[in-house]
């Protein structure tokens, strides 16, 4: 009898590998990923019922890297479920994440606060790490902000390419400087000019008529005519000259 029950137990077979993906995709519980036309070429975007969970520049190795990072599987699909696909397309077109749902469950509160500040940078503008640190109420945590930005799971949609070095240089990017340049170029930021100003220690731009000083890419700063432009290396220099910070781009605390 013992032999018989052992034989019966040996009749069990493992489930084929297709069962779990089919179930998880059908119930909408799994992460699925699809390819989009992004501002700098194709982008792979993953999502689950909570929202967009990951973005990467290529499909190559996406599933393996996703599983490695999030400790759960993701499966390829033609379109993200429901209305999400169209909403991702619109967010990529407009450069604004708006109310697109995003899944930041693996991020700490601090990382979430940083990403939410980054998401508020308008397309066509850039902000230094120090600005993000002030936005999250931790003005001295610039380094921690840098690492939170570097681990952004949803690049491009959460526009960490709009965060630049505190001296005004465009700086590094997780997917290489070329992609950062392309993303900025696509939204009308001349990154080469930014770097030139930074080389000359010109990180803030004020108007001689209003005595208001901005980050150079702030839409208010771009209205200043060339003969009224005043460049400053830092907030101290601008304050000394009697300039107050712009309330829109908040280049420093008054």
């Amino acid at each position: 009898m013992t032999d018989l029950t052992e034989l019966l137990a040996d009749l069990a077979r493992p489930a084929p590998a297709t069962v779990a993906p089919a179930v998880l995709v059908e119930t909408g519980v799994a992460d699925v990923f699809a390819t989009f036309d992004g501002p700098s070429g194709s982008l792979t975007v993953a999502a689950n019922p909570r929202g967009v969970s990951a973005v990467a520049p290529t499909t190559h190795e996406f599933a393996a890297e996703f599983a490695d990072r999030f400790q759960r599987p993701a499966y390829p699909t033609d379109r993200l479920p429901g209305r999400l696909h169209g909403r991702v397309e619109r967010a990529l077109d407009s450069g604004r994440i708006g109310t697109l749902p995003i899944d930041l469950r693996t991020q700490t509160d601090f990382q979430r606060a940083v990403l939410s500040a980054v998401a508020s940078i308008p397309p066509g503008e850039v902000r230094p790490y120090g600005w993000v640190a002030r936005q999250v109420g931790k003005p001295r945590a610039v380094r921690a902000v840098g690492s939170a930005v570097g681990q952004n799971p949803i690049p491009v949609l959460v526009p960490c390419h709009r965060v630049v070095r505190s001296d005004g240089h465009v700086g590094a990017y997780r997917f290489g400087p070329t992609m950062k340049h392309q993303l900025l170029q696509a939204e009308g930021v001349d990154w080469a000019v930014l770097d030139e100003h930074a080389d000359r220690r010109q990180s803030l731009l004020g108007s001689a008529t209003t005595h208001i000083v901005c980050f150079p890419t702030c839409s208010h700063a771009r209205r200043i005519s060339e003969r009224h432009q005043r460049w400053f290396a830092n907030p101290h220099q601008a304050s000394e000259a009697g300039f107050r910070p712009c309330r829109r781009c908040e280049p420093f605390d008054q």
């Binding site: 034989l7 019966l8 137990a9 009749l11 493992p14 489930a15 779990a20 179930v23 998880l24």
Partner: protein, 184 residues
Amino acid sequence: MTRLNGHRRALATDLDAAFPTFVHASQDGLYGGLLRLTRDPQLAADAAQDTYIRAYRALSDYQPERIRTLEVAGWLWTIALNVVRNEARRTRRKPVLLLDQLPETTADTPGPEDHALERASLVQVAAALDHLSETGRQSVVLRHVVGLSYREIAEATGRPINTIKSDVRRGLRSLAEHMGDSHD
């Protein structure tokens, strides 16, 4: 399968987050049993998928307190047996024997002769299962292929626990006879 109750708390707290883990933990037991009941790998895989999709929908409707006290294995198999019954009613397909679905190797068989013997015995026991009555086969498969407890089988089938016990006892005796016959 009995250990599936360990998933209750997570399923009650965050169904979407816990469900993938639950599927991965339970799918081999579910599929293994369904394979013996349907005798067809494709039907078994389809039935397993159907079972999970229904299970997920049911769990989404349940209050967390209900999920926390669910006897998970018995509950999952209630759904699975319904799926199998509906499928059988729909297709009325004549079941096929699964002789070629048996393993090429088993992990702990020492030599080629023992190996061949083991394989031959598996083929026999799979064939012998088909001689049992529908309920007898179901009880034996759930008890000894899937590894459910008598209580879980009673829950899954809605039949009294003592009936299940005698089904299994009678089923095993009948299997032994069939296998003895084929040795003659």
